[in-house]
Subunit: 304 residues, 4 copies
């Protein structure tokens, strides 16, 4: 392999990095909140990179976004109102809107510039979802909004950037925030949040503390993982249900139920693979079981 050429260098940890080849820089700049790169890569197609971390790529964003959105929405009997925190690319929004039952979505992403850049440069990501009349799009602090709004939701989907020291998102991963969010859920409501990397090497960075924090607030949590190629690691999600009777469609019915409720085809999920997400490796189950840290405003969690 000839290494000559143009690369995106991404720090995974102090001692681990990855390089992917880029063809073009579609956009590069700095917003009020973060550095933004939109890259055309050889391996992954068009990529959104925030503060040097790849957020989603044309090639595999469907893995991440289907797994973030559909387990929660399909676990709810009839999701009509949805809140999305973050998700600037509009892909979480796209997947939520595919549910025919959904009548209203409030999406809050702090960084309007990023959203505008995604609308312009990532059309394969959002596929026009921002134009849907069911959407209310706001640019402000999601925590403040949830604290003050009268709205309530059937599902809350948190698609936030990782909690970083000095960043804007770490206060959206604390007990205080989750408590506020839980109070905005309708009876039987579900909250799901991206929960950071879930590989053997990094699953204790965020994933187990988030699980521990949510398990103190909800009657049941359902952590799960999926391997996201452009992250080069399995990724963690945590679903928290206010009603333990809530459940996914069964493996055999899954495709039929999904078709009846979701417009368009799923690419990653079907019955086997959706249920497979929850068949966690032993180290994660044991790690969650033995985790004692609760994330709070005063004692937050940060990724490297």
């Amino acid at each position: 392999m000839d290494a000559s050429g143009k690369w995106h260098f991404e720090v995974v940890s102090l001692d681990l990095s990855m390089l992917y080849r880029i063809r073009d820089v579609v956009y590069t700049g700095q917003t009020a909140y973060q550095r933004v790169d939109i890259l055309q890569s050889e391996e992954f197609g068009r990529c959104l990179v925030l503060d040097g971390k790849t957020q989603s790529t044309e090639f595999d964003e469907h893995v991440y976004h289907e797994c973030l959105v559909h387990p929660a929405l399909l676990s709810h009997a009839d999701p009509k109102s949805v809140f999305i925190g973050g998700g600037g690319e509009g892909t979480t929004l796209r997947e939520v809107l595919a549910h025919r039952s959904v009548q209203k979505v409030t999406m809050i992403d702090l960084d309007k510039e990023v959203v505008d850049l995604c609308r312009r440069f990532l059309p394969q990501h959002h596929q026009g979802s921002f134009e849907d009349p069911r959407v209310k799009l706001l640019h402000q602090d999601a925590r403040g909004y949830l604290a003050e709004t009268d709205e309530t939701y059937d599902v809350i989907v948190l698609d936030l950037v990782d909690p970083m020291e000095g960043g804007s998102a770490y206060l959206l991963y604390t007990r205080e925030f989750y408590e506020t969010a839980s109070q905005r859920l309708n009876p039987g409501g579900i909250l799901v949040t991206q929960s950071g990397p879930a590989g053997l090497i990094n699953y204790t960075e965020c994933f187990t503390p988030i699980a521990q924090t949510l398990s103190g607030l909800f009657p049941e949590i359902r952590p799960y993982t999926v391997y996201v190629p452009s992250f080069m690691t399995p990724w963690g999600f945590t679903m928290a249900v206010s009603d333990p009777a809530t459940s996914l469609p069964g493996s055999d019915d899954f495709v039929q139920v999904a078709r009846s409720r979701i417009t368009g085809d799923l690419r990653y999920l079907d019955g086997v693979s959706c249920h497979g997400l929850f068949a966690l490796p032993r180290y994660i189950r044991e790690g969650i079981a033995s985790e004692t840290r609760t994330v709070t405003d005063d004692d937050p969690v940060f990724m490297v």
Copy 2:
């Protein structure tokens, strides 16, 4: 992150690479067959690298080796004789020998120098397994040996280096070789082979052709995957059973059965995680179903 320092650079594909930081080079040299580096890394501990590709690391070799060995041996009712192809570090051997039922293991690794280096420099890997009196260790061509031997085996475990152009292993991934191997299986015997990367980005390189090739020779194949951190990708395995009635212990019984049959504790596998290995993502199931390539001596498969 300060990138200054010493790194192992590994080419994953033409357009994707990874770097992990090294503290020391424990050994570096060239055998008759391959370049060997034994590295002390910061992230993964001691690593065996052949021809620039990380083969196994102290940190996560248990993931790979438990998943390679135990599903096959636990699917067999009473494995007494085992053949191992490759596996120079002695870790596959270690896991096989942990089965109390095993009375005899024939291990063939072409490259005696690599085996000797592993015995010397990777004590945490083999943990003395080469000294076990049940072991017959040979250094010759595994295919030739199987073609000529009178021995038969309950389980054949293939822990070979990836098939590379110009390499020594690609003729151990063909229909002709698998046919020879299958003729050395006792009734009810099982063959399992490492089958290359199984991520969304690379699952068609080897994994689906190997599955297709084995499915033409055995009544049933059972492909599965696990994420191996130091490979930065999910990895594929294919189990081929001569008796479809063969089955893993159930999820609930798994730990109890494993304890009764295996000396020492398993670190990665238990009922949930072992059965979870077989809950394949949809792209892999569909990829295997639609694969048409059969690997043959005349039409072999090579990794990049």
Copy 3:
């Protein structure tokens, strides 16, 4: 230093590479002859990269181009006609045209697409020189042209890509070509060619064989070097004079003579620095003195 971000990776040799950070990819593509990248770098400004090798950058192209052109033209008493081989960025052309005595320049660069891209994307390089009415610009094989033309020149400037196996330029570094070129020189004419890297690590790749080859055809050669930051190595040039009485302006007169003959200011060269170019390190002088290889069509020289 945080290595996260976008980099150009350049192979210097099998065992040595450099990385410079890029902000943007201004252009990337493939012409009939070569891969072209025009990069906006942080350290060097806008860069032209051909087949993965940095050719010239906004930050330091003046070092290379002043040193390529002015020693030869100022050594000639009255250069009226000049031939340029290569030099697609138009910067060699710019420096040649700055000489008021020059009445006619024939520039031949094989790759019209590269020239067109440079005209469009590297305005700070050519600064409009292609529009000068004294210029005849052709896109064909320079060697064939010189073999057939009736034109003769006072100075021939060869600003070619390095001789690479499989490339288009290596036949413009041979005795046969230099013989043809020398026959197109007017009495007292001078030929100068870029001659590859001239560091302690790589001066024998091209520099000493080119010097040896030209010394067999001209009464005197005058090799010289300058450090070019974006190449991260000293670079070699060889001036070959048909009249040994030819000489540079003296150190004390240099600036005055240069001002009288050249429009605009020189940035790198003055008397001390121009004469300093020829104060070669001992290893180069000894390397040239002991070099025995003559580069021929049948026995060409290639860079790594």
Copy 4:
């Protein structure tokens, strides 16, 4: 070029890095003052790396050390006593001791552990110079020593690590220190110091401020540069003479004079190349002329 393998990654600046391939890590550790790596590289042989910065390599240390030592010692009529600050590898010491006139050398390197490691692992560097009976080797602060000693010297050679924020050496690059050092010079004495990188990209980091600082204390300074391959940049030195009549042997006599005074052969320097060191590029001469910063204890200079 296949980039797979083991590399030393070196940050040159925020936006520029180099990679050289390593075969082995001879030693790695942390002393009380700095991180030490002794590497066996493919391109440069054995390398000493302190805090991630390559200090000297087997391949090209003769370039740096001949140029640091001999211009100063050959400019002095009869150097008998020499002080060396830094220079842990023992190579500066080796070059100083090669002068037959030298009767006594005081060498102070703060970090005894580094010196001991160099004695053990870099025999090609020091070549036994530490055993010479003319040497007094101390491990303490050079500045404190010079402030208190009664010794005086004909030549002071400063071969210190670069001034880094948080490092131990930056107070050995200030006016206050140079003043102390100058008071320890015998009449006609000479001080020479390594002065950091001198490329077009980095010559103002240290080189011009050091020149400006020394020019305020000595009647004449003589800055010079040489390209050091393993630094991938020209490197600066500043000689400060207390007697302006002091001069190098002439170009024609140089070799003869050097042979009469120095045991063994010089590899890099002869008359042309030694005088050539002082033929500075225009940007450096103009940069020094226009530099206004004087480095002081209160206003020190740091490298990136």
